[in-house]
């Protein structure tokens, strides 16, 4: 069973594809169905990208850490960035309406919430943003 897998990366969007491949390989190793692993990687990568862009302001000097642990029947991804999350009940719960619908941004958390079975935002013990995504395993 996968335990304590940790990947720390600078906030550099050129690394996203490499991280996406890593997430898919971890998912397959942990037992995620091949048909579902694309959805898993899209959901996780939206959170990673969110951390790089919003949590770290795109500063390559600030890192995003992905911690992965498998438990019986589920796979957990914790994504920590250097920001300080503020509670926002609306975040990623509703698709854009009207002018927002044709905005070029702001869909990442919505997509992650809809693809993942469980996604929540909170703070790490250090007070930085921590997103936790749990994926069921068969």
């Amino acid at each position: 069973m996968l335990k304590g897998v940790i990947l720390t990366v600078p906030s550099d969007e050129r690394l996203l594809e490499t991280i996406q491949v890593f997430v898919e390989k971890i998912g397959l190793t942990a037992g995620v169905d091949e048909e579902e692993v694309t959805s898993l990687s899209i959901a996780v990568m939206e959170i990673v990208k969110n951390g790089m862009e919003h949590g770290n302001g795109g500063d390559p000097g600030k890192t995003v850490t992905i911690s992965i642990d498998a438990f019986p029947g589920r796979l957990q991804f914790q994504v920590d960035d250097c920001g300080s999350w503020q509670p926002d009940a609306e975040l990623g719960h509703k698709p854009g309406e009207g002018e927002e619908l044709i905005s070029c941004r702001g869909r990442g958390v919505l997509i992650a919430r809809n693809l993942a079975r469980w996604l929540d935002f909170g703070l790490s013990p250090q007070g930085n943003t921590r997103a936790t995504l749990i994926w069921p395993l068969n």
Partner: protein, 113 residues
């Protein structure tokens, strides 16, 4: 991501292959849309049949392209989105602004009309 472009019966067909992911490749796609706008190409059919992966930034570029092309009086439609990509259009409600097709000839005829 690979991008191929061709004109077919007066419609610009843009075919994408691979992963539509944040990064330098997306700038290339933005440029393709901008060139279509600058050349007043008119109608654009975006073939996503070869796209295996897309994120919200990719969707954002598609929306931006759609808006720019609409502003010059053109239309943009989607062809052959895979089940996974189609799901993203549904989640984000973008399915309400993009016309989608699974038959290229039908798509071209619709854009011509």
């Amino acid at each position: 991501m690979k991008i191929k472009e061709e004109m077919k019966d007066g419609v610009k067909v843009i075919r994408l292959h691979g992963k539509v992911i944040s990064g330098p490749d997306l700038m290339q796609l933005k440029t393709v849309f901008q060139t279509a706008v600058n050349n007043e190409t008119g109608n654009v059919l975006l073939d996503l049949g070869g796209v295996s992966w897309m994120d919200s930034s990719g969707l954002g570029v598609l929306v931006s392209g759609h808006t720019s092309i609409s502003r010059i009086g053109g239309k943009m439609a989607i062809l052959n989105a895979t089940k996974k990509i189609h799901e993203l259009f549904i989640i984000t409600k973008l399915i309400t602004i993009f016309e989608t097709f699974t038959n290229e000839q039908e798509a071209i005829e619709s854009l011509q009309g």
